[in-house]
């Protein structure tokens, strides 16, 4: 056993660091990792750079366009992207439906969907949750009725992230209402430009437009857009959800977030002295640092077991739980650090007189909206309560 990075890993780190420094789109530099306020094309600009290099989906099998990196190298890549504050690659194609398609799809489906997904020419959204099906996803009611060589889809999805930019969506639909819930679900790929698809914004607590409702009104979907067998879609869903969880720990981003928080605490003044000199605030940062170390090394252990051929198991629920708690704690402390300047709201009340010039230090501007927005991390991807149930049942056998 050892914790050292090999010389090969270190030179890999230098290689990817140099690549990011040279090729990260100039228009995105210095903006930070948030995609808020960026256009669809701006968000895709980094994806396209990486796709040209062959690095946009490093974890995919090489035969489908993956980079052939070891888990340690993938971790180093994440660290270097976080260090450079790059925007993320939108995960719905690369991390979610892509692996489902290459695992469960036909050769024709792979050929049709994988290359444009890699290239960034298809922006995917995830049609899972419904108003009546959140934690109890299997109870979903969007129906797909078979009519010849099409399904006719009717229903409503919600919390659909960035559907306003999506070209295609992967939807869980009910194809057999008479079967046990998990045994009547199919996995359909739907062109978001199909007649009958309506996307409606949902505004969230920080004023963002990140998520949407998607209404499906007699949408015709060719049967060849179904991945895997009819009524076997739950298998695809479970596969995808387990993969979602490892990425969701966001260790590298949180490490970078802690660095930034320390910098804020050095700049913010309390009674004229730097806030970092307040031992009570400094102690909270140290506690977070220790919790983050625990998470980081657990992620490394999970990655190592992945490289030994074992896929992400239910212990990835631990990563989701602790990862989300750390993300939330970071934004909570950043808001605390902002002090009085956590209060101003910049998203704009157009009726109230248009744009307000930034008030207070830059680190305070998004502190409150970011804190409010991060409350979602313990709710989405399977709530933390559900994740506890998964560990209890599937790891501890309780």
């Amino acid at each position: 056993m050892n914790l050292e990075f090999s010389p090969e890993d270190e030179s890999f780190r230098q290689e990817v660091r140099a690549f990011i420094a040279e090729h990260y789109p100039p228009a995105l530099r210095g903006r930070g990792e948030s995609v808020e306020g960026l256009s669809k094309e701006e968000i895709l600009s980094w994806h396209r750079v990486l796709a040209r290099k062959g690095w946009v989906a490093p974890h995919w099998p090489v035969e489908y366009g993956g980079a052939g990196w070891t888990p340690v190298q993938r971790h180093i890549w994440e660290e270097e992207c976080a260090r450079a504050d790059t925007i993320p690659v939108i995960p719905f194609g690369i991390n979610m439906v892509g692996p489902v398609i290459y695992t469960f799809g036909t050769p024709e489906q792979k050929q049709r969907f994988l290359p444009p997904t890699l290239a960034g020419d298809i922006w995917w959204c995830q049609g899972y949750s419904e108003p009546g099906a959140g934690s109890d996803l299997a109870s979903l009611r969007t129906q797909a009725r078979r009519e010849g060589d099409h399904y006719i889809v009717n229903g409503q999805k919600t919390w659909t992230t960035l559907a306003q930019y999506a070209d295609w969506g992967f939807f869980l639909v009910r194809t057999d209402p008479t079967a046990r819930p998990q045994e009547g679900i199919s996995f359909l790929l739907i062109d978001m430009k199909s007649p009958g698809v309506t996307v409606r914004p949902i505004i969230t607590l920080g004023g963002e437009h990140e998520v949407n409702e998607v209404f499906l009104d007699n949408v015709r979907v060719p049967v060849e857009n179904r991945i895997h067998e009819e009524n076997k879609g739950w298998t695809c869903a479970k596969f995808l959800l387990a993969h979602e969880r490892t990425g969701i720990a966001a260790v590298s981003r949180s490490k970078r977030g802690l660095e930034k928080l320390r910098a804020i605490a050095r700049e913010e003044r309390s009674g004229g002295r730097p806030l970092i000199e307040d031992p009570f605030f400094a102690r909270k940062l140290t506690e977070l640092e220790v919790d983050l170390l625990a998470l980081e090394y657990t992620v490394l252990r999970v990655l190592a077991s992945e490289s030994a051929g074992r896929g992400p198991g239910p212990e990835s629920s631990l990563l989701k739980i602790r990862g989300s708690e750390i993300q939330q704690r970071l934004t909570e402390l950043a808001l605390e650090a902002a002090g009085h300047y956590g209060a101003p709201y910049f998203r704009g009340f157009p009726e109230a007189g248009g744009n307000v010039p930034p008030i207070g230090p830059a680190y305070a501007h998004r502190a409150a909206p970011a804190y409010f927005n991060m409350r979602k991390t313990s709710i989405y991807g399977g709530s933390n309560e559900i994740q506890h149930n998964i560990i209890a049942k599937q790891v501890l056998g309780l």
Partner: protein
């Protein structure tokens, strides 16, 4: 020891509650917050006239009805339940409080204008580099003939866009950090050299950055003794802190009952989620935090008339407890609401946002715990 409200106090609560249920439903509040002005002068007039709220907690010597901190507590709790934005805290609690304690010759006159609804006050005390150290003041006031000249910058002055006057803390003498040399001034909003940049806050209020570029203030607008204002500033901030504890209790009541309601009607896995033990225990934890916050708010409120150190310890203990509780209750209300809790549409998120801002108002939990310790050491 008596924790009972008088008949008049119970009546006051009922009147305020009924009025707000009628005129301050959540959708109306949402519309008002999004409007250019961000508040309703007619509501303020109703507070003044119809309800007599603006004088309820002011002594008869100032033209009020003779109530005090308990009346403030009742009013602020009801305001917290309705997410009221109008500037009662700045005007009556802080402004009125200063008039009560300062012995200022013009106190009665200004108090009458407050009670009539004509005058609205905002407290310009916060400065960026001070954070919560009230004696750290860089804004200066220099004597020049029959006036003082104010120079400096006040941060995030809540309610300033709606105010007729500001109460300003400024340094007439001493180092930036000295507890001596602080003074309080009443400044008209329209004074020459006063520049305000108005903005909305994340919890539905309005505030301003205020720059004083040689603002001339008549000498008679000095409130209290020159250079000796810190004890008065601390007293008034303690009174305001106790008041926002009460407001936070009001928010927590709505957060908690909203969560119970939601959990009872939301069904997943064939049952109401309220039947899950984990969530039941969470809602119990929220209940305990709320109930003990009520207790701590009583403690703070009833100690406002005690000697300064005793008062300060009680208020800081309360704010530490209530701030932490409001954070806990707010976060868990959102969590139990699931995705719906993340929407701008539901009221629950707006209560969460106000509760969040109260945690940082007049000092965070950590700040107040330190203050309790400092006062204990000094005792």
């Amino acid at each position: 020891m008596d924790f009972n409200f008088t008949e008049e106090q119970t009546l006051l609560r009922e009147q305020v509650s009924r009025f707000l249920a009628d005129r301050y439903d959540f959708e109306t509040r949402r519309r008002v917050v999004a409007s250019p002005e961000g508040w309703r002068p007619e509501i303020w007039q109703a507070f003044a006239g119809e309800l007599g709220l603006l004088g309820a907690a002011l002594p008869e010597s100032l033209g009020g009805f003779g109530g005090g901190p308990v009346e403030t507590m009742i009013i602020m709790e009801e305001f917290g339940k309705a997410l009221v934005v109008e500037p009662y805290l700045g005007t009556v609690v802080i402004g009125g409080g200063l008039l009560k304690h300062s012995g200022w010759p013009q106190a009665r006159d200004l108090a009458e204008r407050i009670i009539s609804g004509e005058a609205r006050l905002a407290f310009a005390y916060a400065e960026h580099k001070a954070r919560y150290t009230w004696r750290h003041v860089e804004t200066t006031a220099r004597r020049r003939g029959g006036a003082y000249v104010l120079t400096g910058h006040k941060a995030v002055v809540i309610g300033a866009p709606w105010a007729t006057h500001l109460i300003v803390t400024a340094r007439t003498d001493g180092d930036v950090d000295s507890p001596e040399g602080l003074s309080l001034f009443l400044v008209e909003k329209g004074a020459r050299g006063l520049h305000a940049t108005d903005f909305p806050t994340v919890d539905g209020l309005r505030a301003s950055e205020i720059r004083f570029d040689g603002v001339e203030v008549p000498a008679e607008n000095l409130i209290g003794a020159e250079g000796a204002a810190l004890p008065l500033i601390e007293q008034v901030i303690d009174e305001a802190t106790a008041a926002v504890c009460a407001e936070a209790v009001g928010c927590m009541r709505r957060l908690h009952e909203g969560t119970l309601d939601y959990a009872r009607q939301r069904r997943q896995f064939g049952v109401p989620i309220a039947s899950f033990q984990v969530l039941q225990h969470r809602m119990v934890d929220m209940f305990m935090a709320l109930e003990q916050s009520v207790s701590m708010t009583y403690l703070a409120t009833l100690k406002l008339g005690a000697p300064p150190q005793e008062r300060a310890r009680a208020v800081s203990a309360a704010k530490a407890y209530v701030g932490r509780s409001a954070t806990f209750v707010g976060q868990n209300a959102i969590q139990i609401h699931g995705g719906m809790g993340m929407t701008d549409e539901l009221a629950i998120g707006h209560y969460f946002k106000r509760a969040t801002m109260i945690e940082g108002l007049f000092g965070t939990t950590d700040h107040h715990l330190s203050r309790v310790e400092t006062l204990a050491d000094a005792a």
